[in-house]
């Protein structure tokens, strides 16, 4: 029974790409009824841990990630490292894949890592052949699909990196846009929005600095007294 519950939940995670906590409940309630296993509802973290131990040797994982822009937690299904095969999703045309790459590139160099709808339709440096292949409708469909899969999220009429991007593309973003995207000096994971030191302007995760400041009172980078308000 437990085995079937794990498989069904994993399939749902793969179907959605990323799930909010509300979606997790919507999925697990009917499964718990079908398999008469009410315990899973209060024990999602353990269920995910069990699935991850099965997935470990397949280079995939389910990972909880808190998205700083929405302050919400998501469960993301992603690859733990890039393989040549991971780039070969043959249902996306070459133009779609190039558009995805250009979109990520454009977002990565923005101050807020966001892009407006107008800019999405007029990405700079897109080859003419790609432009010809991408109608406005196609761009809309692709963005909707990628947003549903958790690669992007919409907020205040702009598009930002979504929870799945933070999990699957973090190392890609760091490597290719190292002038713009850096690690949090405290947890060594990518930090995009969150909070900056007033003095040296280094970015850190809000949660990380909150914990850090319980023990110390200086910036972990410039060592001067931390003065940026946390709220």
């Amino acid at each position: 029974m437990r085995r079937e519950v794990k498989k069904l939940f994993l399939q749902a995670c793969m179907n959605h790409g990323s799930l909010s906590l509300e979606q997790i409940s919507e999925i697990l309630e009917p499964i718990s009824q079908s398999y008469d296993d009410a315990a899973i509802l209060g024990d999602v973290k353990n269920l995910v841990k069990e699935i991850n131990s099965d997935l470990k040797e397949c280079n995939q994982e389910l990972k909880f990630v808190k998205h700083p822009l929405l302050g919400k937690e998501y469960l993301v299904f992603g690859l733990t490292f890039e393989t040549p095969a991971s780039k070969l999703q043959h249902h996306y045309r070459e133009a779609d894949q190039l558009y995805f790459a250009k979109l990520v590139e454009t977002m990565a160099v923005q101050e807020d890592y966001g892009i407006s709808w107008v800019d999405m339709y007029n990405l700079p440096n897109l080859p003419q052949t790609v432009k010809k292949d991408l109608t406005k409708r196609r761009v809309q469909d692709l963005i909707t699909k990628w947003t549903q899969q958790g690669y992007f999220l919409e907020k205040d009429d702009k598009l930002f990196f979504g929870p799945r991007m933070l999990v699957e593309y973090a190392s890609h973003l760091k490597t290719h846009f190292s002038d713009y995207i850096k690690d949090c000096p405290l947890c060594k994971n990518v930090v995009l929005w969150d909070i900056k030191c007033d003095r040296c302007e280094i970015k850190v995760h809000k949660e990380c600095i909150r914990t850090f400041l319980k023990r110390k009172s200086n910036c972990p980078s410039c060592k001067q007294v931390w003065t940026t308000p946390l709220n």
Partner: protein, 219 residues
């Protein structure tokens, strides 16, 4: 040890390739899988059984060869407990497919495409107009995407009396795996407020063997 490690890497690469292509539902060609492994035929033969086993054991997904072809399809071996397990586009597609497949099943034969489209029109699904729920280009979805995904078979009519080319629709191989015909019959009968047994010839064809029942006599 080195060989074992290389084999394990190849298995993983193949597994990731299959997983990445589950969502689009297009059949995976043997040739594409070979390419992942540097076109090594023997390596594919060695890796494939364990990939099939892992997909079933960890993901509950069946990777199966389509009879008489060199293509494979993936489908879940488990029934979903609710539509929440699917994303919105999947729900839209599966709903439309259920409508089409149940119609084809109740007709119990290949159906002329105009006949199918008229039936859909009767349900206010005009395949040449934007639909508020199903959205997108429905003609392309039905005539191309569902056909490529092997949910539907679309064949030219072989009738010699036809003046124009006619196309006939029937169930595709994937449909028979993902939508067991007896379940579709039972659900369709339920929607019509009847028992599956009321549709005698279809019931005899798809259900009577299950319970070792004697086929019912057709009036």
């Amino acid at each position: 040890m080195e060989d074992e490690e290389k084999l394990s890497q190849c298995r993983n690469a193949l597994l990731v390739f299959v997983i990445n292509n589950i969502e689009n539902k297009l059949p995976i060609k043997e040739e594409e899988m070979r390419e992942i492994l540097g076109k090594d035929k023997a390596l594919l033969k060695e890796c494939l059984p364990s990939v099939i086993q892992t997909l079933k054991k960890v993901y509950g997904i069946v990777l199966q060869r389509v009879p008489d072809t060199r293509k494979y399809i993936c489908y879940s071996q488990l029934s979903a407990s609710s539509t929440a397990e699917y994303d919105l586009e999947q729900i839209r597609h599966l709903t439309l497919l259920f409508v089409i497949l149940s119609y084809l099943l109740m007709k119990d034969c290949r159906v002329d495409e105009d006949q199918l489209f008229n039936f859909l029109k009767g349900l206010r699904i005009d395949i040449d107009e934007e639909h508020t729920y199903f959205t997108g280009n429905l003609r392309k979805l039905i005539c191309e995407t569902f056909v490529k995904q092997l949910y539907l078979k679309r064949e030219k009519s072989d009738s010699e009396t036809d003046m124009e080319t006619r196309y006939l629709f029937s169930w595709g191989y994937r449909a028979t795996m993902e939508f067991p015909p007896k379940d579709v019959l039972q659900q369709t009968a339920g929607i019509l407020g009847k028992e599956a047994r009321d549709f005698v010839s279809i019931y005899n064809k798809y259900c009577s063997n299950d319970n070792n029942e004697e086929p019912m006599a057709v009036d």
